[in-house]
């Protein structure tokens, strides 16, 4: 390692130049060497070749002969460093330029997994050079360690700001699941950038430091680039490099590095890496939707919280009347407390699994296409429990300990609310227009939102009859709203409950029965939701607060404002609120609903089915449009694996060819390795204890001449490269090939065995 960095080598150059400045007879000596060396085995027929080699010798002989031999005899490493240093300036410039290009391309590719992280990642890609500077002072390992420690400390401080209450030991580790559960592309917040930055800094440090030494130099950068590429592909499910251009660029840069920079490293690892990159590109290109999704492997950092259902509390809130719950600053929007999507037949239940908020995964049903942002400041003045009032689908909450159910957007604070708690919620409200909804369809796959365990026949039949004239889901939803509202009155004193029995009483109870035709918002919303589910509309119940008028810049939300409403999901438009209590909630406009009701009323009633047993399907098949996320069948069915052997053969051929190119550039030694390759391919691999001339003797004059050149290149103090060696190697190779059996000759170009030979 120490030999590679400048000190030793530069000293060698200075020595050589200084002492040999006047050695003008060097070319003569050089040509003499080649001539006499070539004479020995090849006798006189070799004159022409040795003459050519002699003239070729002029170029390298420009490196001066050193008159005093003692020093170099004692210091065997000198020749190596001497040669290395003559090209060291351009060499290292090339090397570092190469690794910078590689790191930048790979890092910027990774940066696409974030929103606006390009600058940070580009800078992080260069941190390896810090380690390089540091290496001048301390050993390389220590330098790498130093950079990583600083980087991790910085990452810790950044991530700690995002979750101050977490155990410090987990701060850095937490960033990975956070990233994997974040939105795509992830926002460029510190704690989400940390994993990517640390990855890049680590890879950059390793790559630059390994390039700074010789030998296995180019393997680590290739590995790093591959790691970055794969990370980017996984984080974006291949979308960052949709057409494989980045992969192609990386492969080209890698190939250039191997062909131009370092001809000594092994060929196989880069070949494998390149093949892997190419295969990955092919996969992400051909099967974009079937890409491997790392998010499925990571359980988001979730917490199970068993929280009481606030629905029954509606009655007590209704009874409390004017009691102040919290204050709001912001637009006049309905505030949501909790969304209930599971119905057991006895009650509604809230989700029990919550993850950290700020950035959450997408909900189970796609959101609508039309949004409106809303941001409200809240201050808790009397509200109790764990549920945190919010607005729309929450995007950000200023409380760090708030957690969210990504499907419903319900917010909780596990520690419970306390009076005086102030926070800001930014949420997204779905704002479909009335005309959108008229023709909107509902998904059939959302069974979670249509589940009605052991639904009583009375309810299902009631729902069917209520919607029998309705053609579209929207008409059904509006019809049900009307049906539930008609002839029923809100009553704060009504019995609580949302079981089938309570709803049957609420809907069909005979006058005088307790709770018949009367209920709180709980019964209205539940009845609507059950009936809507019965006709196939995905429905859920939201507990929240009605919008209240502003007083002195603040809206004071009181207990009496608490309410519940159902929401129906329409494909492409998201969740739409309905209001079976008053008929004019925040959902579709009253005019739109009235239009629908008028049309339904004017339609002559179709003949009802004669038999109750033959209840028609709740959702007409034609009205069903499968959700848009079906995988492309064609891509799936084509057997792409048939390409694998072809790809493998191509990869092997490319690897072998690139090995040959590298060997060809490596002078006589490379030529000899090419001969050894062919001997191995022909099944004539020589024993390792046989010398070059000994092996070459069997292959005629060309072999003998090659052996001389090889020995000289390998063991002479100042080797003079024989330009003919590759031609000689080709002659030997031909002779070897002739001796090989026919089947060996068939697999010759793709036989991988030479790749494993060092």
């Amino acid at each position: 390692m120490s030999r590679a960095d400048g000190g030793n080598g530069t000293a060698g150059t200075g020595d050589g130049r200084g002492s040999g400045g006047g050695a003008t007879n060097a070319p003569a000596g050089g040509s003499g060497a080649v001539g006499s060396a070539a004479n020995r085995p090849a006798s006189s027929s070799d004159r022409a070749a040795s003459g050519a080699a002699g003239s070729a010798a002029n170029r390298p002989a420009a490196s001066p002969h050193r008159p005093s031999g003692h020093a170099s005899h004692r210091a065997p490493g000198n020749t190596t460093s001497h040669r290395a240093s003559t090209h060291s300036a351009t060499d290292s410039l090339l090397k570092y330029g190469w690794v910078t290009a590689l790191l930048l391309v790979a890092s910027l590719q990774l940066a696409q997994a974030w929103d606006g992280a390009i600058l940070y990642f580009g800078l992080a890609a260069l941190t390896g050079f810090l380690a390089l500077l540091l290496k001048k002072l301390v050993p390389a390992g220590l330098a790498a360690l130093g950079v990583m420690v600083v980087a991790m400390a910085g990452g810790f401080l950044l991530a700690r700001g995002a979750s101050p209450n977490r155990d410090p030991a987990w701060v850095l580790l937490d960033t990975v699941p956070r990233l994997l559960t974040a939105a795509r592309p992830a926002p460029a917040t510190p704690e989400l950038l940390v994993p990517g930055l640390l990855l890049i800094i680590g890879i950059s440090t390793g790559a630059v430091l390994s390039v700074a030494r010789r030998g296995t130099a180019l393997f680590v950068p290739a590995l790093g680039a591959a790691a970055l590429y794969v990370s980017a592909a996984l984080l974006t499910t291949g979308r960052a490099d949709r057409y494989g251009l980045v992969a192609l660029t990386l492969v080209v840069i890698l190939a250039l590095g191997w062909l131009v920079l370092d001809r000594r490293g092994p060929v196989l690892p880069p070949a494998v890496l390149a093949t892997a990159l190419a295969a990955l590109t092919l996969l992400t290109f051909v099967l974009p939707t079937n890409g491997f999704e790392p998010r499925r492997l990571v359980t988001p950092p979730v917490t199970d919280i068993a929280i009481s259902n606030p629905l029954p509390q509606l009655a007590s809130w209704a009874a409390q009347g004017e009691a102040e719950l919290f204050r709001v600053r912001g637009p006049e929007v309905p505030l949501r407390l909790v969304t209930l999507s599971r119905y057991s037949g006895a009650s509604w239940e809230a989700a029990s699994t919550y993850g950290p908020l700020g950035v959450v995964d997408a909900p189970d049903l796609p959101t609508g296409g039309k949004f409106q942002d809303a941001s409200v400041d809240l201050r808790i003045t009397g509200l109790q429990g764990e549920w945190l009032p919010g607005v729309g689908r929450p995007q950000a909450v200023s409380l760090s300990n708030a957690m969210v159910d990504p499907d419903t957007g319900s917010l909780v604070v596990a520690e419970g609310l306390r009076t005086g708690l102030s926070y800001t919620v930014r949420g997204v409200l779905e704002t479909p227009s009335d005309t959108d909804l008229v023709e909107a369809q509902v998904p059939t796959t959302a069974t979670k939102y249509t589940a009605l365990p052991r639904l009583p026949f009375t309810l299902s039949e009631y729902a069917r009859q209520a919607t029998q004239n309705a053609r579209t889901p929207y008409e059904k939803a509006v019809a049900l709203e009307q049906v539930v509202r008609l002839n029923r009155r809100p009553d704060a004193e009504a019995p609580v409950g949302s079981s089938y029995a309570r709803l049957e009483t609420f809907l069909f109870g005979s006058p005088g029965e307790s709770g018949a035709g009367a209920g709180t918002a709980e019964q209205f919303a539940s009845a609507y939701a059950v009936l809507a589910r019965a006709v196939g509309l995905p429905t859920r119940v939201v507990v929240g607060f009605q919008p209240v008028p502003e007083e002195n810049g603040e809206r004071i939300v009181r207990a009496a404002d608490a309410t519940a409403w159902p929401e129906v999901y329409f494909s492409g438009f998201g969740w739409v609120a309905f209001d079976p209590v008053s008929g004019n909630g925040s959902g579709p406009s009253a005019a739109s609903k009235r239009e629908v009701l008028n049309r339904l009323a004017s339609t002559t009633a179709k003949p009802t089915p004669t038999s109750l047993a033959s209840v028609p399907p709740l959702v007409q098949p034609t009205a069903v449009d499968p959700d848009a996320v079906a995988a492309p069948e064609a891509a799936k069915s084509f057997p792409f694996w048939v390409f694998t052997p072809v790809l493998l053969l191509v990869a092997l051929y490319v690897a072998r060819t690139s090995r040959r190119v590298r060997l060809r550039a490596a002078g006589p030694v490379g030529a000899w390795n090419e001969v050894l390759d062919s001997l191995q391919l022909a099944g004539l691999k020589p024993k390792p204890s046989r010398t070059v001339p000994d092996v070459a003797r069997d292959w005629g004059e060309a072999g003998a001449r090659l052996a001389v050149a090889v020995d000289q290149a390998a063991f002479a103090p100042r080797p003079v490269h024989d330009e003919n060696s590759w031609r000689l190697a080709r002659q030997v190779k031909k002779a070897v090939r002739r001796k090989a059996s026919w089947w060996r000759r068939i697999v010759w170009p793709v036989d991988p065995r030479p790749l494993f030979r060092r």
Partner: protein, 321 residues
């Protein structure tokens, strides 16, 4: 560092000497080359051979080609050390004690059947070989330069001989044998009127001064690191072989490096290649190895063991520098 021009000059000299010697010793160019290598490397040769294969002719031919002085000592049990090194005698004419040099004061000394002499006499010769001076009555007398001892030893008929101990065998740089000539060469030798064996016809093609001037320069010939590692690995190979009681000493390996340098130069190269090491490993190392008793009984020779080691140790792979 020795340069290519110097190497070419050496190669010419080596070829001239070899050609001249070969005119007297037919068909034994490899042995001649080895003897010349030993001479240029400043070492000595032990020829193990049956009588009548041309040992004496070889030594005298080398001396003739070199243009130096050649002496022959027939070792017998009653030979005294002073018969080898020389002695002080009283000169009645001058009335002074005068040193009369023994037969070691020559460029080429042929010590015939060295194992027949008593250990004391052997030691005297070996000491001169090592020290290159003869000390009589406290006065040192240097032997001439170049100084090559060619000792012969008859491997058969060992009755009444004093075997050279292992430590003293180490003093010989090379051990080899001449062996019988091939059929063609033998016919050539037998043919009446052939020049074989006629020392008088050996042309003098060099001078002792020329030889000794090269001898020092050749020690500067380039030996690449991988070659040294290879030589070291060979040494380790002999030391770890179970059939050997004693492997090669570091001195043996140094000698191998030295001989490889001269050998490489004799091939016209200004650097050593693995083939050089392999070519001269047996003459340089085989006589320094000591077999275990079991191996001796099973009939293995050190040359066979060394050949095994050579076929086991991988040669340095050619790598661009």
């Amino acid at each position: 560092m020795i340069d290519t021009g110097e190497v070419s000059a050496f190669r010419d000299l080596h070829t001239r000497l070899g050609d001249a010697v070969e005119s007297a010793v037919r068909g034994k160019r490899d042995v001649i080359d080895l003897v010349l290598v030993a001479m240029f490397a400043g070492g000595h040769v032990l020829l193990e051979d049956v009588p009548g294969t041309g040992k004496t002719t070889l030594a005298r031919a080398v001396a003739g080609a070199l243009g130096g002085v050649s002496r022959r000592v027939q070792f017998t049990p009653d030979l005294l050390p002073s018969d080898v090194t020389g002695t002080s005698v009283y000169d009645p004419q001058t009335g002074q004690i005068r040193f009369r040099p023994g037969p070691v004061f020559a460029n080429i000394v042929l010590a015939d059947e060295i194992n027949r002499a008593a250990a004391k006499t052997q030691s005297a010769l070996l000491e001169v070989m090592e020290e290159r001076t003869v000390t009589i009555d406290g006065v040192g007398h240097s032997v001439p330069d170049p100084f090559l001892v060619v000792a012969t030893q008859n491997p058969i008929d060992l009755d009444g001989t004093y075997r050279l101990p292992e430590a003293q065998l180490d003093r010989f740089m090379l051990r080899t044998s001449i062996g019988y000539p091939s059929v063609e060469d033998e016919l050539d030798v037998l043919r009446p009127g052939s020049g074989a064996g006629r020392i008088a016809d050996v042309r003098t093609v060099s001078s002792p001064r020329e030889v000794s001037s090269f001898s020092g320069r050749l020690a500067l010939l380039h030996v690449a690191d991988p070659i040294l590692q290879y030589i070291s690995a060979l040494g380790t190979g002999t030391r770890t072989d179970e059939r050997l009681r004693l492997g090669t000493s570091t001195r043996g390996l140094r000698t191998l490096v030295r001989c490889a340098q001269v050998y490489a130069a004799s091939k016209g190269r200004h650097f050593v290649v693995p083939q050089d090491v392999q070519d001269i490993a047996d003459p340089v190392l085989a006589h320094r190895l000591v077999l275990t008793r079991e191996s001796v009984l099973s009939g293995v020779t050190t040359s066979e063991v060394l050949a095994d080691v050579l076929s086991r140790v991988p040669v340095p792979k050619p790598a661009a520098q």
